[in-house]
Amino acid sequence: MMIKGKVWKFKDNIDTDVIIPARYLNTSDPKELALHCMEDYDSEFVKKINQGDIIVAGRNFGCGSSREHAPIALKVAGVSCIIAKSFARIFFRNAINIGLPIFESEEIADQSSEGDFLEVDTVKGIIKNINKDRAYKLNPLPAFIQNIISLGGLREYVKEEVRRRNR
């Protein structure tokens, strides 16, 4: 998959309470969750981002709760990809499971600025910063995880596995 989008920069330790505050977790409707994405960090964020934009963040993005509502809210709000120095473990799993591409890169986090345009080849792991005229090659994800992504997320993997077991 090829993704092209504008960069929104975030600091270290962006937690899931900031991504989607718990006061909105009395629903699991993705559209409603998306309306409040990052609200306590920047109340205008949802209005400002365009479909396909990319978050570039510091360390430990998505720390805190296991709420899958966090990557769902980001994805539905328009975020197409997240690149961070590191991700909290559960957020990483959740993003992969719902099919939101995420990559770890210290370099990209350090070298890109808000407003830069990035081009991401999610299969090859090649990321280009158009404004800075730089290209980065990231380590491919483990084969098992690539398989989940190529099936379209963990849900499709489970469907296939259930079918196999029922045969």
Binding site: R23, H69, S86, V158, N166
Partner: protein, 422 residues
């Protein structure tokens, strides 16, 4: 070379031979659960998967604890989804209000999660059950749906950091202070993707309730889980509770650890974690005098009977400060009943505290104690992120039940000694 407790548990739950750090394995799950926030999405995906039943009706738990008793209509709808799903799929461990407790306190108490288990919960504080010597990890809803359907989870074999605690604990220093101190030393991502194994003479002498508190907050250092080797204290706790046979695993003396961190506890004072990260823990001396509007004693971190006993010891014969709301939330019905029998609830109510039925409520800013703009709380809960307990401009300071109780009396963050010396 020897193996760690986690490597042994995972080896016993997978068909992969000779596990190595970094391997991705499929692990059989002994117990899986979700709450009223995470279950609705998991239920939806489970139904979509085509699975006709859950992998084991006795090994799935559904616990409406976050916004239950239902805080509003939307929450009521979410809880209803759990109830109906439990009925339709004959899930035995659905806990209705009146039997419900905060999941991570309830499941060990009911003997549903046991040493040697692989426990997977759709809640980040699932690591709490690591205190029993189980491998207990938090996941999201899609993962949980997969486990309910297949009875297994994909996992990466993580390295372990061993923490060895030695020395004599100071008065009023609890498991909460040890874990806050530890997180302050390694940072909120200091154990990201790794297991924290808590050990040493101090841990051996620590009660189960304090061990649960420590493992509960391993996630606040980014850890995959926290774990403590089962010992006499664990076995004593399990007597009359364990619902099925279990297996004890211990780390070999020559097991490989990514790192070993030794901590001398004799230097540790009661800790207070300042906003807005759990790693901002400082000794109580540096927090004294900060005015508070609210004090919360409860949650999956500190809502167990020992926590309430310590709070009662400090509150006995005292009055909550006129400008403070003290809210005490026993974590389970059994804890509540025990506190009632021991006269603790009397002490709380005479002191001017509000006592609630079990719920996660205020910990995550759900209800039952939301903060207004500019308000400040001291809390025995586990997170102090921006807006965690209410308004984005409110503040949460994390501490032990002793500090939260003393602070409620004095109207400012206070050491228990200030109250007990009268």
């Amino acid at each position: 070379m020897g193996k760690t407790i986690v490597e042994k548990i995972l080896s016993a739950h997978t068909d992969t031979n000779n596990l190595r750090i970094g391997d991705i394995i499929k692990a059989r799950v002994d117990f899986a659960f979700a709450n009223d926030i995470t279950a609705p999405i998991a239920i939806k995906y489970f139904k979509e998967s085509g699975a006709k039943e859950v992998f084991n009706k006795k090994r799935v738990g559904l616990i409406p604890d976050h916004f239950a008793p239902n805080k509003d209509i939307k929450s009521a709808e979410q809880c209803k989804l759990l109830r109906e799903f439990a009925q339709e799929y004959e899930i035995e461990n659905y806990f209705e209000i009146g039997k419900m407790g905060i999941e991570h306190a309830l499941l060990p108490e009911k003997g549903l999660v046991l040493p040697g288990d692989v426990v997977v919960g759709a809640d980040s504080h699932t690591d709490t059950s690591g205190a029993l010597g189980a491998f207990a990890i938090g996941v999201g809803s899609t993962d949980l749906a997969a486990i309910m359907a297949l009875g297994e989870a994909w996992l990466k074999v993580s390295p372990t950091i061993k923490f060895i605690y030695s020395g004599k604990l100071n008065k009023w220093v609890s498991g909460k202070d040890l874990i806050l101190y530890t997180i302050s030393k390694i940072g909120v991502d200091g154990a990201n993707y790794k297991v924290m194994e808590f050990s040493g003479e101090v841990i051996k002498r620590l009660s189960m309730d304090n061990r649960f508190t420590m493992c509960n907050m391993a996630i606040e250092a980014g850890a995959k889980t926290g774990i403590i080797e089962p010992d006499e204290t664990t076995l004593e706790y399990l007597k009359g509770r364990a619902k099925r046979p279990f297996q004890i695993y211990k780390s070999d003396t020559d097991a490989h650890y990514e790192k070993i961190i030794e901590i001398d506890v004799s230097k540790i004072e009661p800790q207070v974690a300042f906003p807005h990260l759990p790693e901002n823990a400082k000794p109580i001396g540096e927090a004294k005098g900060i005015k508070i509007d609210q004090s919360i004693i409860g949650s999956c971190t500190n809502g167990r009977i020992e926590d309430l006993r310590i709070a009662a010891e400090i509150l006995k014969g005292q009055q909550v400060h006129s400008e403070v709301r003290l809210i005490i939330i026993p974590a389970t019905q059994d804890v509540y009943l025990q506190a009632l029998r021991e006269g603790l609830i009397d002490i709380f109510i005479f002191s001017g505290a509000a006592v609630s039925t079990p719920t996660c409520g205020p910990c995550l800013g759900g209800y039952m104690g939301i903060l207004a703009k500019g308000e400040r709380a001291i809390s025995t809960t586990n997170r102090n992120f921006v807006g965690r307990m209410g308004h984005p401009e409110s503040e949460v300071y994390l501490a032990s039940p002793a500090v939260a109780a003393a602070s409620a009396i004095l109207g400012r963050i206070a050491s228990p000694e200030e109250v007990k010396q009268g």
